[in-house]
């Protein structure tokens, strides 16, 4: 059975949706259209209603949060939905006879219905415990009555809450606002309704305090401890706009309906704060200004004190009884009292009676007239009585009445002395000026050269009136004589503040010229620049005239000298030409005479007797002598025109050579004892000096020729600072009275028969030595020899030492 049932069940499930086992309901029985469709439509109406109901229930549940017995609602919904489904399947069965499915749905509906019944039975007593709406209404009514009764106190609280002068805010444990009074609205700008259930920290606590606020709240809630509860705090809060305000705050915890709440009373103290700050500022400012005034006062006092003490005047104040109220440093120094000593004393304690009387007299007059007086006072001081100029006036009290006399006294003693000195100096200057005007020609110009002053002498010499000159410059008397550069130099010199001196030629009004020795002195201002020039002149016209004449004479003289020189030069040239022609033209006839005389002797000598031969011999000798004379004369003339070439001459060597030449050893016809001292070098023309030695030595040999033995000494000495040489012999000598003639041309002191000679030798010596800048001289004695000397200056060198 069970087996069969099992198979049936499996078939049932397999064919759950199979409709083939039954005909559609339309065909089962006798269904009229009406009946059928009534059935069908009714079923569908029920189904649609039964479908809607659960949807409404579910929707209701989903909206209501305080639903109780929620399972019952769901069961109800499911049971009705299932019922609906059976009706739907019933209608569908008219076309699709799924009776197995219908059965299943019916089963489910049945189960659900019974489960619902079960639950209804279970919860019914609980449902009955719930107040009915009538009961509820009654209760509500009662409560309203109770509220009505408590309304006065609550309203009072509310009124207090609303009218509280402080903001009152209540928050719950979460820190969310639950109450917000109107004052809080106005203080923080948040309307109460916007604040409800929002965290307080978001509303009024500045960002920087939020974390500590939340920490404090959490700590209190967990430990019951708080640093702030029940205390008056001052802190910053922020408004809706974000501005911060200073607030005073106190928070009290409370419990309402078992929930912990916190009530905060908050007062705006911003204005209060500001007032305090302002007062503090004002105080500080006041203090600062007081300090500043004090300092200013002190400084001004210091300033006055410094002025008074450092003043070059004596400053003092005395009360009407004459007692000193104030004296300055100078007073103390001059009268040798300290300030402390003087204050409270009178002039009678400080000065002698006479002086004190005078001071007191003036003080009283000042005080009596309540006026300022200025008078001279005599004050006795260490170095005598000084004169002061005192200015005294009264000091007045608040009512304008004089209570003291203040005086300032300036020592004018020195000024007076200076004035005196100045007066004397001016007198002296004036005297100098008078003296200068009397003696010199004076003009003063400004720095541009415009004449500002001329004295009488200036007018006299320039022949101008003073009016002609003042306002002009010196061009008015410019002669045009001096080069422009000189005038420019003058200006440059004086413009640099230097004195210019010079001689100037000026032109007078009448066109005549005059010379002045001029000194121009620039007067310098403080910065060293000339502000005027004073020209002091002396008339030197006469001297200049003399000088000019002298100059002219000099020039003439020079011209004449030049003329003479030219003449001399041409004479010298003529002389040269003459010498040439003499040597040429005179020698030729002489040669002829000599030559033909010799030819006569050669060719006709045998025909001449002794007298004839004597005569031809005389002819020859005379002619020879004439030739010699011509030669000497020419040599002498040549020496005059020759240039000398100065060299260093080894005199010793030169003399030895000449001696060897003139008197060779062994050939000497007579014995000569030579004494030759060592000779220093000298300076001169080597050929000319040699000629000098030759002439002097050959003379010595010649004139000592008759002595036995002949002695010739040669040496040197210093004569009148010059190196001098001498040649001394022991020959015939000469008479000193003729020694001036020794050195003249053709002058001889001996007869030609005694000693041969042309009379040119010594003249030549003299000429050469003079040409060298030296001197020749001689002394002798007849029969006792002669000494010939010549000096040579330290010559200039024409070349190096040879």
């Amino acid at each position: 059975m069970f087996h069969l049932m099992g198979r049936d069940i499996s078939d049932f499930i397999r064919k759950l949706f199979d409709t083939s086992d039954w005909p559609p309901r339309w065909h089962c029985g006798k269904w009229t259209e009406f009946h059928g469709w009534l059935y069908i439509i009714s079923d569908l109406l029920i189904w649609s209603a039964y479908f809607s109901i659960p949807l409404i229930i579910i929707r209701y549940i989903s909206r209501r949060q305080d639903i109780r017995f929620i399972r019952l609602y769901f069961l109800f919904a499911a049971f009705i939905l299932a019922c609906g489904s059976t009706h739907l399947l019933d209608a569908v069965a008219f076309w699709q006879p799924a009776y197995r499915l219908s059965a299943l749905v019916l089963l489910i509906t049945g189960i659900l219905s019974w489960v619902t019944v079960f639950y209804l039975v279970k919860y019914l007593p609980m449902a009955f415990a719930l107040k009915s709406s009538g009961e509820l209404e009654t209760e509500i009514e009662q409560r309203k009555k109770a509220e009505w009764l408590s309304r006065d106190s609550e309203r009072q609280v509310q009124d207090l809450f609303d009218a509280a002068p402080d903001a009152v805010i209540v928050i719950n444990e979460e820190g969310h606002v639950v109450k917000w009074n109107p004052k809080a609205e106005s203080l923080f700008g948040w309307p109460a309704k916007e604040t409800m259930d929002r965290p307080l920290s978001d509303l009024i606590i500045p960002q920087r305090y939020r974390a500590s606020h939340n920490r404090g709240l959490a700590r209190y809630l967990s430990t019951g401890q708080s640093d702030i509860l029940g205390k008056n705090l001052e802190m910053q809060a922020c408004t809706k706009e974000g501005t911060e305000i200073d607030v005073a705050l106190s928070i009290s915890p409370t419990v309402t309906n078992g929930r912990r709440l916190f009530i905060g009373f908050i007062r705006d103290i911003t204005w209060q704060r500001r007032s305090q700050e302002e007062i503090r500022h004002l105080n500080a400012d006041l203090e600062r200004r007081v300090a500043e005034r004090t300092r200013e006062l002190y400084e001004s006092q210091q300033l006055v004190q410094a002025i008074v003490d450092n003043s070059a005047a004596v400053i003092y104040a005395k009360d009407l009884r004459g007692q000193y109220l104030l004296v300055n440093q100078l007073y103390c120094e001059l009268f040798h009292h300290s300030k402390e000593e003087v204050l409270g004393k009178t002039d009678y304690d400080i000065f002698n009676r006479e002086a004190a009387d005078a001071f007191r007299d003036m003080d009283l007059r000042v005080a009596a007239g309540n006026q300022t007086l200025r008078e001279a006072e005599k004050v006795p001081q260490d170095d005598g009585t000084h004169t002061y100029i005192s200015v005294k006036s009264t000091l007045k009290d608040a009512r304008g009445l004089p209570y003291a006399v203040i005086g300032i006294s300036t020592d004018i003693t020195e000024t007076k002395a200076v004035e005196e000195t100045l007066r004397k100096s001016l007198q002296e200057v004036s005297d100098y000026k008078f003296a200068l005007d009397e003696s010199a020609i004076v003009a003063i110009t400004d720095q541009k050269g415009i004449i500002t002053h001329v004295n009488d002498n200036f007018c006299k010499i320039s022949k101008y009136d003073r009016e002609d000159l003042i306002g002009q410059d010196h061009r008015i008397i410019n002669s045009g004589f001096h080069p422009k550069t000189m005038i420019r130099d003058l200006w440059v010199t004086i413009a640099h503040g230097k004195i210019w001196r010079g001689e100037l030629k000026n032109k007078a009004k009448d066109g005549s010229y005059y010379w002045v020795d001029t000194t121009i002195v620039p007067f310098l201002n403080e910065s060293g620049k000339p502000y005027q020039y004073v020209a002091i002149r002396a008339d030197i016209t006469h001297r200049k005239k003399v000088e000019e004449e002298f100059h002219k004479l000099n020039e003439e003289l020079e011209d004449r000298v030049n003329l003479r020189t030219v003449q001399l030069e041409s004479a010298r040239k003529e002389m040269e030409a003459f010498a040439y022609s003499v040597s040429h033209d005179l020698r030729a006839p002489l040669r002829g005479v000599l030559g033909f005389t010799s030819m006569l002797e050669d060719d006709y000598g045998s025909q001449l007797d002794s007298e004839g031969q004597r005569i031809t011999s005389i002819i020859k000798n005379s002619t020879l002598k004439m030739g010699q004379l011509i030669d000497d004369l020419l040599a002498f003339s040549r020496t005059g025109k020759q240039e000398i070439v100065v060299r260093t001459v080894d005199m010793g060597k030169m003399v030895r050579e000449i001696i060897d030449e003139l008197a060779p050893v062994g050939s000497d016809p007579h014995r000569i004892e030579w004494t030759v001292h060592s000779l220093p070098a000298a300076h001169g023309d080597i050929h000319m000096i040699r000629q000098v030695w030759v002439n002097l030595i050959s003379n010595a040999i010649k004139y000592s020729g008759r002595q036995e033995p002949a002695r010739i000494e040669i040496g040197h000495f210093t004569h009148e600072g010059q190196l001098s040489f001498f040649v001394r012999d022991n020959g015939v000598g000469f008479n000193n009275k003729y020694k001036d003639k020794l050195f003249r041309v053709f002058q001889r002191l001996h007869k030609a028969e005694e000693f041969e000679g042309t009379g040119v030798g010594l003249a030549l010596v003299e000429k050469i030595v003079s040409k060298h800048g030296g001197r020749v001289w001689a002394d002798g004695e007849p029969g006792n020899g002669a000494r010939f000397c010549f000096s040579l200056p330290e010559g200039r060198y024409d070349d190096e030492y040879i």
């Binding site: 010498a579 040429h584 030729a588 040669r591 002829g592 010799s598 030819m599 002619t623 020879l624």
Partner: protein, 141 residues
Amino acid sequence: MKQDLIDILLVEDNPLDAELTLRELKKHHLANHLVHLNDGEEALEFLFANGATRSLPKLILLDIQMPKVSGIELLQHIRSHELTRTTPVVILTSSKEDPDVRRCYDLGVNSYIVKPVNFERFSEAIRTLGMYWLLINHPPT
């Protein structure tokens, strides 16, 4: 006197000097071929006339101081002429003062002699120079 063989050409304006010179040269047989001319003009003619190419003297003796053409001018001509450029020329002068010594040497004179006044020394000078130039010296050929 053959014109084409001349030893000495003497140009001397002073007849006395010329005679003294000739006498001395003759005395020593040095004047066998000697021509005496009285001044420079004659000498120019003698030496250079007609393109003058006769045989040249071995020695020319010139007095420096002569009228018309002086010894120096003559010397200048002689030295500037190709033919006579190398002929020995001796200047004779009376004066030691002659300013022309240097000039003569510049012009190429071979010798410059101041005639001594003293006859013996004069004779010696003439003899010496005659013998030297004619006998000792080897002339340019």
